[in-house]
Symmetry: C2
Subunit: 332 residues, 2 copies
Amino acid sequence: MKLMGHHRPSWQELEKGIRLGSIVALGQGITLVESLREEDREFAQQLLNALIPFTGNATRIGITGVPGVGKSTFIETFGKHLTAQGKKIAVLAIDPSSGKTKGSILGDKTRMEELAKDPLAFIRPTAAGAALGGVAYRTREAMLLCEAAGFDVVLIETVGVGQSETSMRNLVDYFLLLMLAGAGDELQGIKKGIIEMADGLVITKADGENQKRATQAQADFQYALHLFPSPESGVKTDVLTCSAITNQGIAEVWQTIEQFVETTRQNGFFEFNRTEQDIGWFEELFEQRWRQQLFKQSGVAELKQNLEIQIKAKKISPTEAVNLLFAAMSKS
Amino acid sequence: MKLMGHHRPSWQELEKGIRLGSIVALGQGITLVESLREEDREFAQQLLNALIPFTGNATRIGITGVPGVGKSTFIETFGKHLTAQGKKIAVLAIDPSSGKTKGSILGDKTRMEELAKDPLAFIRPTAAGAALGGVAYRTREAMLLCEAAGFDVVLIETVGVGQSETSMRNLVDYFLLLMLAGAGDELQGIKKGIIEMADGLVITKADGENQKRATQAQADFQYALHLFPSPESGVKTDVLTCSAITNQGIAEVWQTIEQFVETTRQNGFFEFNRTEQDIGWFEELFEQRWRQQLFKQSGVAELKQNLEIQIKAKKISPTEAVNLLFAAMSKS
């Protein structure tokens, strides 16, 4: 089996390679599922279909937080803690800034130097391109390939300031929000609703002079969260502190996640959540495919955009706009 | 103009009546927009188109809270406070239990006895039926008719335990969550995410022995909310207490809402939010119409349902299911 060099492997070769745990095959497989070329999509689909039975065994963890919270430092330390226990971990980064500017995640990646050298770790940013559901689409498929390649933990990383964390929420078993101590200006970057979406909050940089503030923030959030409705998972939102410098709290984060998985497996939420995610994914794909077909019709996308401008200008009502759009569509 | 009796008014007659502020015409107009009959839909559309230029002038307030929080008592007291100032207020109730069981809202309605007798007030529960976007669809149109009839304030009421409050959020300028003092079991009924969605929290039943607990709850929520990201409106979430027995705090609720409207009109959020709601409404209608057309095709709805069952049983992947669905659809 020639996976390197100029030979383009078939999907059957990739399937074998990935199931054997080959990092090279995994990398090529992810490149295939990320490809926008029509013929690649078909092969990618066949590859995914063949691998589906071997997916689902990893603990899927989403990690988010504003720039500067120390995501890559946390992931490096957390990742090394896991590989030290013999666990294979994959880190996938959703880069919402892709295609526009060089995102901070790609920059961060080079900073996870030690983890990148670890033979038990695999680090890969999700490629740019918003087609077909954008980043979440690619990341989901990349995650499935990692699972088929035998990874025990998949970490999915994104910046907690845009839309991407909602997409990520629908991919993972455990959603971790990294926060800085001090509930003032640091919060500005966090999107409304994200705190309530999290299964766990971790106050980072809890070392040196910052230790006290971190412990205070922990107490504040524990108190605040108890005033809010209980999570659907049946597990109250964990609030922890950690330091990537002293390693304090890193083991506790993993213990907390393991405990969450155990509890939710027992109370049924774990399976329920994954099934809901699958159904949600089906709905989303269905929607996307239909929209794609619809907007292929000449003029539909332009008309819709034009109608939105008219709604904004208060020239027509939303109901009238829909009537006009459908009238135009049924003609063509 | 004959609006009473067996004569069915034309939409032109209804338009005139509603613009004159006739409660009878308004009631008949709402019945028309609620009708599921195809020919009624067309007249309803003409009526709405004619009235659109006269809408948008009311303050749109959404009120929610779990059963037992005292919604109807609050609305009665609050409504009377407004009518005492000469304001015309309309109360529309979204009843999520409609069609299944007799909802508590319909029961509550009869309890707003004094307000119902007030010539400046109009109370109407939204009719059952989930067709065409369900309750939000009807309520939105009913709200527009109330505005055209010259109402100054439209209160939209729902039970804060289901999906309906998200729909309501997209209809109103100010979203008020009623809560009971004591953050324990009372929270169980509230859906996750609703507290963060609210522009204002009001702790009800702040009287007698409960006064102290209500003040404590107010302080707790004020503290908790300052730890969360700031609302998009630019106005921090208000936390108030009130009593429908002593009337304490009722005037403050209205002052707070007026202040919110003034501030958001100045900072541009008020208009921004309404425009976003219109665009969102356009998207939603577009979606609904398309789904309706799609599922008219024989077998599509059944196939989709069947595929969802297979996904739940882990027999096929979401991606495969979409492929099968589209293959079947392109054949028919």
